[in-house]
């Protein structure tokens, strides 16, 4: 049958393309298990001898363990603040739907496209006396990623019936309690998406810590890689092991929760 052959052909082309996309991943993974000489060849072959010391050497370094803590701390707090700020805001924007809230929504949408003015941001942190602190980076991220979260949440909020709010208010519930006890739990699916997408963006970001963190003790893992490369560019096995360790948590989260990530990133983008 002609159709069957065509379909198999399409499948083969896709598999080939997927293989090409995977090559860079395979190269760092395979070379992270090679000794210093073999790793420097950047080959796609299996290691002639499997070496695991690259990994143990990475974990021996105190700064890397600290880097992970910093990355977790910064992305964790950012997620927490974004969830609180964005969900409350999105609730009112969607429910009131007045000229005022529409304008506020448009303001956030503009924030979605605009590039951040990074140099004045540094000066602002100096003026607020928080330059170089975790708080500076965290607030910078919250401000930058808030528009995306609000955009996503406003879209989702439409699917939560107003009757719930009304019933709760009639039963004598106040607004904060009504929101956090009744509406908030119903937002879970989209909050998971927001959490993962924000987490990944903060974890992967270079610009924020590069400009806003000067203290090496507060560096995130991505900034450490930047610094690491200039010091150890000859020890490729070690570098590849370090890279593998930094990408792994993200890749694992992605593979497990890809439904939420892909849904979140594409939500609101195509009209149903």
């Amino acid at each position: 049958m002609k159709n069957r052959i065509q379909l198999t052909l399409v499948e083969l082309i896709c598999i080939l393309a997927a293989f090409i996309v995977m090559i860079p991943f395979l190269i760092i993974l395979l070379n992270s298990f090679k000794d210093i000489r073999e790793a420097a060849l950047f080959g796609l072959s299996l290691p002639s001898e499997w070496v695991f010391t690259n990994y143990s050497r990475v974990f021996e370094r105190a700064d890397i363990v600290r880097g992970f803590k910093n990355s977790f701390l910064i992305s964790g707090f950012t997620v927490f603040l974004i969830i609180i700020c964005a969900s409350t805001s999105a609730f009112i924007i969607q429910r009131r739907n007045s000229i005022l809230t529409q304008r506020i929504f448009i303001m956030y949408i503009i924030g979605l496209i605009m590039p951040t003015a990074i140099v004045p941001t540094i000066q602002l942190m100096v003026d607020l006396n928080i330059n170089g602190t975790y708080a500076a980076v965290i607030f910078y991220y919250v401000a930058v990623m808030l528009p995306f979260a609000i955009f996503l949440l406003v879209g989702f909020m439409k699917s939560i019936p107003r009757e719930l709010d009304e019933a709760a208010i009639i039963d004598g519930c106040n607004y904060p309690r009504m929101f956090f006890q009744i509406i908030f739990p119903l937002l879970m699916p989209v909050l998971i998406t927001v959490t993962i997408v924000v987490m990944i963006n903060v974890w992967n970001d270079f610009t924020g810590p590069f400009y806003l963190i000067t203290d090496t003790k507060k560096w995130t893992v991505v900034l450490l890689i930047y610094n690491f490369m200039s010091q150890y560019e000859t020890d490729w096995g070690l570098v590849f092991a370090f890279m593998t360790i930094v990408i792994s948590p993200i890749l694992i989260i992605y593979i497990l929760l890809q439904r939420y990530i892909i849904h979140g990133l594409t939500a609101g983008s195509v009209k149903g």
Binding site: C14, S89, M114, V119, A143, V144, F206, I250, V270
Partner: protein, 288 residues
């Protein structure tokens, strides 16, 4: 019916956004008109001096040119390859789910790390790119990718395409799901072949996905930074200098006012390109 949802719920988000996004944007406009730098103790208003200086610097012209070539090429390549991939993946493939997982994976990796990985792939003697070209008998195509002024920008473009192709594909796949099957079937019964069905049914109905992809791609690639810093640092010479690498250079030389002015120009360019493109793409969308 509740009419008065409390406005104070808007406050936490608005406070953070006003202080940490709007404020630096507004002060940025002011700083871009000053001589603010590490050497002078006081910030002095200098009018449009920074903008005049920018105009006379050949490097900003290069940054302009490179950023636009980059944005244009990335948008075209990403959208077209992403569309082709999506059309193939929309067929009933056995390995569809795992393939989608793989195609999208580069998108969740730190751009900085992607830069370092591709530096390895592009290595002139040991990199897999040149090895593969040699192996295919296309050795004449091999280059010192990141140091040859003729191909360095291309190397960066291809890296960015590799990173974002899965995202573009996923958006198109979502769009394809919304095309009603009966429209395609009736076109089929009317004797339309695959190309005709694509040209007259699928393509026009995919317009919303096009809008999203093209717009995000343009906006994102005008702001390109990490990938250039890692791969070429803006070199060789200034052959791959883009807006944000130029901002970083001015910043690290302590010329804060000037760096902010370049940032403002980037802001104007992003808005100036993004808004008309959005308007134009919206106009050709078909309402179902």
């Amino acid at each position: 019916m509740i009419k008065k949802y409390p406005l104070y719920f808007l406050l936490p988000a608005f406070a953070v956004f006003a202080v940490f996004f709007i404020t630096p944007t507004i002060t940025g406009v002011y700083y871009s008109f000053t001589n603010w730098n590490v050497n002078s103790p006081i910030i002095k208003f200098t009018g449009i001096d920074n903008y005049v200086r920018m105009w006379s610097e050949p490097r900003i012209h290069l940054a302009f040119r490179n950023t636009f070539i980059f944005a244009f090429a990335v948008t075209i390549l990403q959208t077209s390859i992403g569309l082709i991939l999506a059309l193939m993946m929309h067929e009933k493939l056995y390995t569809r789910n795992i393939l989608r997982t793989i195609f999208f994976a580069p998108y969740v990796i730190a751009t900085l790390i992607i830069g370092y990985i591709f530096k390895v792939l592009y290595h002139p003697d040991k990199g897999i790119v040149n090895h593969t070209l040699d192996g295919l008998g296309l050795g004449f195509l091999s280059h010192d990718w990141l140091h040859d002024p003729n191909v360095a920008l291309l190397a960066i473009i291809l890296t960015d395409v590799w990173k974002s192709i899965g995202f573009v594909m996923v958006i198109f796949l979502a769009g394809l799901q919304f095309i009603p099957k009966d429209i395609l079937e009736s076109a089929n019964i009317d004797g339309a072949n695959y190309w005709h069905r694509f040209r007259h049914v699928t393509f026009p109905l995919l317009a919303p996905s096009f809008t999203v992809n093209v717009l995000l791609s343009i906006i994102g690639s005008l702001k390109v930074f990490e990938i250039v810093i890692v791969l070429t640092g803006g070199g060789p010479g200034y052959r791959t200098e883009v807006f944000n690498t130029y901002v970083m250079r001015a910043f690290s030389q302590g010329e804060f006012g000037y760096a902010t002015a370049i940032n403002m120009l980037l802001f104007l360019v992003v808005t100036g390109v993004g808004v008309p493109v959005l308007y134009w793409l919206r106009k050709r969308e078909v309402e179902l």
